[in-house]
């Protein structure tokens, strides 16, 4: 998705190496995705579901 849009930045975080980030976003299981610091997506969900949830609060043209 990051490749498909200049607006998207995608970061993969190794949870055990950054316990402060894991605590901040209450990561108790992986994968857990956080969008713009608030929207949470738990688990490996199908692409359609992921896009739906990830972009629910994002402004589009």
């Amino acid at each position: 998705m990051a490749l498909a849009s200049d607006h998207i930045r995608a970061t993969v975080v190794e949870a055990t190496e950054f316990p402060d980030l894991s605590r901040q976003y209450r990561v108790t299981g992986v994968p857990k995705t956080i969008v713009n610091g608030k929207t949470e997506i738990l688990g490996a969900v199908p692409e359609e579901t992921f896009v739906e949830q990830a972009l629910q609060d994002i402004k589009t043209r």
């Binding site: 607006h7 930045r9 055990t16 043209r61």
Partner: protein, 146 residues
């Protein structure tokens, strides 16, 4: 000592053979308080030795502040996967285990290889929705090595 087995090296070389454009990995480190920076460097050194299209640059987050600033990285070790431009892909932590596979995938995709490691690319529907995005989107995916 090599971190990758001979079989893995062969497999990765084969995958990198599908790279189209050059990819530059930028590794962010610091001298103190970063135990996994050395491991990250070793893994990336091995990776870049497997393709002529892949290069590695190490940037010290503390000493090379000005150089690091445009990448917006605030932790170490971190890796930026760069193509002709900056596609906005970052990895935080040493790229072992699951992150290793994701990193390979990112390298292939950024290089314009026809396939990443996943079976298919994004659907037309996803591409259309993503193309319509009109504000910055920061996606963080938390993973563990296993």
């Amino acid at each position: 000592m090599s971190l990758l087995s001979d079989a893995d090296r062969r497999k990765v070389s084969e995958l990198f053979g599908t790279m189209v454009n050059p990819v530059r990995l930028v590794l962010f480190t610091q001298s103190l308080g970063c135990e996994s920076c050395t491991l990250a460097r070793q893994i990336l050194d091995e990776l870049v030795s497997l393709s002529d299209k892949l290069t590695l640059e190490e940037v010290n987050l503390v000493l090379d502040k000005d150089k690091a600033a445009p990448y917006g990285v605030d932790r170490v070790p971190a890796i930026a996967v760069m193509g002709a431009g900056d596609p906005g892909i970052r990895f935080y932590g040493a790229p072992s285990g699951y992150e290793f596979t994701s990193l390979l995938d990112a390298i292939l995709l950024v290089s314009g290889a026809e396939h990443g490691l996943g079976a298919d690319g994004l659907s037309e529907d996803t591409l259309a929705r993503v193309a319509a995005i009109d504000e910055p989107v920061d996606i963080q995916v938390f993973v563990t090595p296993t």
